[in-house]
Symmetry: D3
Subunit: 256 residues, 6 copies
Amino acid sequence: MSDVAMTAKQERKLTGKVPRDAIRMFDLPRVPQAVLDGFLELGDLTSTVSDAMDELGLNGVVPASKLRPTIQGSRVVGPALTLRNIEQPVHAYKGAQDRASRLAEIEAHNLAVPGDVLVIEGVADISNMGGISSTIAKRQGEAAAIVDGAIRDVAESVRIGFPRWASSVSPITGKWRIQTVEINGSIHICGVPVKPGDVVVADDDGVCFVPHEHAERVLKRAIEIKDGEGRRYDDIRAGVEVPELAQKTYVYKFEE
Amino acid sequence: MSDVAMTAKQERKLTGKVPRDAIRMFDLPRVPQAVLDGFLELGDLTSTVSDAMDELGLNGVVPASKLRPTIQGSRVVGPALTLRNIEQPVHAYKGAQDRASRLAEIEAHNLAVPGDVLVIEGVADISNMGGISSTIAKRQGEAAAIVDGAIRDVAESVRIGFPRWASSVSPITGKWRIQTVEINGSIHICGVPVKPGDVVVADDDGVCFVPHEHAERVLKRAIEIKDGEGRRYDDIRAGVEVPELAQKTYVYKFEE
Amino acid sequence: MSDVAMTAKQERKLTGKVPRDAIRMFDLPRVPQAVLDGFLELGDLTSTVSDAMDELGLNGVVPASKLRPTIQGSRVVGPALTLRNIEQPVHAYKGAQDRASRLAEIEAHNLAVPGDVLVIEGVADISNMGGISSTIAKRQGEAAAIVDGAIRDVAESVRIGFPRWASSVSPITGKWRIQTVEINGSIHICGVPVKPGDVVVADDDGVCFVPHEHAERVLKRAIEIKDGEGRRYDDIRAGVEVPELAQKTYVYKFEE
Amino acid sequence: MSDVAMTAKQERKLTGKVPRDAIRMFDLPRVPQAVLDGFLELGDLTSTVSDAMDELGLNGVVPASKLRPTIQGSRVVGPALTLRNIEQPVHAYKGAQDRASRLAEIEAHNLAVPGDVLVIEGVADISNMGGISSTIAKRQGEAAAIVDGAIRDVAESVRIGFPRWASSVSPITGKWRIQTVEINGSIHICGVPVKPGDVVVADDDGVCFVPHEHAERVLKRAIEIKDGEGRRYDDIRAGVEVPELAQKTYVYKFEE
Amino acid sequence: MSDVAMTAKQERKLTGKVPRDAIRMFDLPRVPQAVLDGFLELGDLTSTVSDAMDELGLNGVVPASKLRPTIQGSRVVGPALTLRNIEQPVHAYKGAQDRASRLAEIEAHNLAVPGDVLVIEGVADISNMGGISSTIAKRQGEAAAIVDGAIRDVAESVRIGFPRWASSVSPITGKWRIQTVEINGSIHICGVPVKPGDVVVADDDGVCFVPHEHAERVLKRAIEIKDGEGRRYDDIRAGVEVPELAQKTYVYKFEE
Amino acid sequence: MSDVAMTAKQERKLTGKVPRDAIRMFDLPRVPQAVLDGFLELGDLTSTVSDAMDELGLNGVVPASKLRPTIQGSRVVGPALTLRNIEQPVHAYKGAQDRASRLAEIEAHNLAVPGDVLVIEGVADISNMGGISSTIAKRQGEAAAIVDGAIRDVAESVRIGFPRWASSVSPITGKWRIQTVEINGSIHICGVPVKPGDVVVADDDGVCFVPHEHAERVLKRAIEIKDGEGRRYDDIRAGVEVPELAQKTYVYKFEE
């Protein structure tokens, strides 16, 4: 990104919902669009990416049993805009009386570029993101949201076609229970690390977070794997006997 | 309810499956129908009700991750008819030999008035309510069932359009494993208290149990919240910039 | 099975992915096809079978909350072809470098007879069976797979119409993490025992494993139960009052 | 208990912390003291009692992994005085402001006879019984407390030698979070049923709840089992070879 | 702390194990020593503090069932020095080969002032703090460590008398699995928020995190509660009857 | 082991509790005693072994939070004698009536050589090993038992000084609930693989299972790590400043 663009962005009006210095990064490292598009062309999306990550020694894959999709069949690829929530220090009833809303993912929507995926390290059993937030995200062009924690207003987000993956669903608001403490810092999501700009790859099987600096290598290997498995699928359909299928090598050892 | 009605009801034939004195209440405190109807008109149903309950300092909300709906998209409002199950003191195999069925939610169906919601504090991983029971419930006009415990015959209950929310699904019968010990007493459901007559509000996000004595106040506040959020949705659709959205107040402090 | 058939089978080419002596049995005890067909005609499938098993003192039922179906509404009956996986002794990254794939359910596909149900005692949160394996299973005529552990490529297996029940879904491969140590031995699945040839009965409520030596007795009793419950459903539809329904006996004590 | 004693008891001053009709029973069914003493003489206490219950087809045993003892090595036998707690309908902060303490196990202490064991179906992660309550229990001569839920002030209760078994330990008070809804009713504790007067048997391995009407039969069988196992221990110490130990029968089939 | 001291501190040599700007604060807000001492004089330590926090509407209490003490009977009060760990992006085996140790709680030991309590938001089932780290902590005069995650070398830390509270114990090193991403930022520990300088209060019942800005108010109320409960204990010992104990008010409503 | 010894052993009288062909191996691969002794001389036992295994890319470590020791401070090293239990196919009450005890770890005691560690892949919440079994194990000279599942009679086994690590404790017998299906086969224990003869290393932090074919390499590396950490401990005690400690390398890269 050019200096001009960066200046323009840093001058962007903020919401004031979090201190400016709690926004750790204004411009995400950007993986080329062609790489993002390349991921989307893979067949068994997260499985293939997960396999490629294994061969490069990279962690970053979360089972769908931990992060469940709200819209079956959705397939999403995009850079992570990260946000971290923790609990509020005051009881919710006192917070509601004081109108002390400290949930501030709206600032993330303010910073989002179309195609970004909002990734929230959140709080369990309490909603970190509801219907209004989903509607803003959709309008801003975000591709999806991934929430380690609860979300709410599932029906509304499905209706407008905004896919979310979350560890639980709950009508209980985070407004008086949760505070946003950091945007675009390093977070962890169900046991894997995520940095701003890492590539989020999500489907019905789960979510992969590909470190952005390795995205091209991962894609290259994923394509090799996909090609090998394509040949295996062909042989299955062609009626090759099982013992022969078992002995045949379709994906060769990874070499860089 | 008039004395005449009450007498009529108490003379109602019972099933004999539970002792009469284990039925703690024959006539539920009744919230006006207009209030029940009012809840159903809310948009993001349980979210809005949960928010109103927060501001009044009321507990009673269970995430859908704990009580999963069997029919996606169902929206239910009605008074709670409560029932409590515990385990039987004899092994299931002995119980099956002795034909000692002690599961008695059929008495609750006998007492139910159309529109009631059967709410069962039940036993985990064992069915507290099956297909026959759902069919009777549907015939008696019950609106839904909420079960903290397992249910079975999901396909059948979906087929006849009787919505249930339950913490698990299991084919294993409760007939020889569970006993009904109380009807229309105070129970707890996934960590929240429920009294007979409390208003059950359920959708895809979870279930709210609104104490009946506060139902009107909760509805009044819920409508204010819904109206505020409606204006927020309008602004989002009108393209108001995110920082402005973040600063604008749509729902004003609760005052009674 | 005749000696000729058995010889033919033992001479069948193996994949070599597991040692021959880790295949504990080549020919499953076979329940008559009429019995398998009889189970499929039951209405509330697993509920009825579970009830019959209770009366015979048989364990073997797993709730759908522990083994979730990938295709809602599927109903499957067939003999169990069992397989046991455990973890690999080397780290996945080292395994990926060494290309040490030890997942060998492909040998089970090799041994499968059309109609068999592959039952895997597997590893949690890691895929024990993916899309390629599902495609082979479908081609070999297997009826379904039951996995105590994770599966992947759910979308692909749904697309080709191969139903699976699994305890979780995860894109993370078992190739470098899991080893198959035994085929057609005794295994346990979510707390119940399964032997090769036991009858697998699965639907939206869960999975029953009927010991093959008791399959006919279980079916006989299940039909009696189904008939009794059919009369109960008739009475409900006919408007019989609840107290009368509660008192009437529809299923008589089990006598052999 | 004589009529005179019973009258005396019913006239006993109550605390007023729960409505009189929420006390379901004033005088527990009493198992003879000799039976209680007999249980205490068993060696591997809960194991032997659990084995005897199995042979009579009785449920009622909870592992120590679910109900952990606060004082290692404690062995307790006594009749259950039961109590049921559920959550309060108002937020804790509001409750604290309103001084709405509804935790009322003090009424159980008021009703307790020396030797009784207080058994609480309580709330998870919140204290159902603290140091003051333990001190009163100790003074009233209660033998122990069993809590399915959290307890607090463990150090204090250990200091005064009052043993408790509980599913968790937490400093968070139940005063503003929990309400006592019933005393001496039927409850369930970690998956097993308990009635007032049932015999509680507890040690480091867990807790057994023996239905009072079966206490003598259970004790009789437990003694037979203990005697058989005593002979087995003797043979082991005498150096009898393992294959012979394995073949020898020490405990004969149960006959009544 | 004077400016001179602060300068001295900021010039303090760092370990270089985390970037300087990942240390969010060099000097913790300091609660007066008299306040810390005051907490230690309370009897039922965490219970009393938890009660006082409730009345002020403050969250921040974790049950001992979630954070288990390594040394029974320890009682600790001190300011929180906070640290946040997340997972590493590379597989442990690759990390071990590359000697990529990124666990950096040693920097926290470097910054610690005697009496500080190290509070780690860590990773589950993997050690966030071992024996060497405990030995350094002890030498630097730290009072204790609280770890939401696993610890190891429990025997060694017990031997040197350094108390720790942790959510699990595991021999598996975090060196190649965990990275420290932040020191003295806002963290969450088992569902409650902690800021640097907040007062940690820990004993056998659990851990309270008192927001430092409210420490004096909490202590003041805690002393009132302790005094009231002292009178209650006196009455119990004096033999006051239970109904009278139940009716008497010992702790009066909180007024500021 | 010499041929003579092996023959002697295979002729050893069996208990007959499991079929002979369910005993997969009669003589375990034996790691030299000097290697076992070498492990025992390590300081932070399981931590150091776990670290060495990491560097060789070996899985096999279980946290003490999953396998809890019954005797704090125990340190055990010995070869694994493996056993696998699964559930019985009949209800426990029926099994008790039929006296169908199928728990057969007594055969493992029969096969055990002094110093062996019995490792059981067992069933959760039900006892896989009680007091009599512990007493036999002690008499036969076994060093310890590791049970993924419940154990009972903890007090008795502690009294006789026989250490066990188990995932839970329960008085409920496995006699009528569990069957032993295999001895000295490959098993998994809390997510890691164990083969007969693998070296079990256990202490308060958890349990390591070192593949026997790698035991000498692991020990060699563990000693190097221990020596490096010894120097680090020396420097800490000598007062070396924290930044210098952090920069100094004590354990050099692993080279074979």
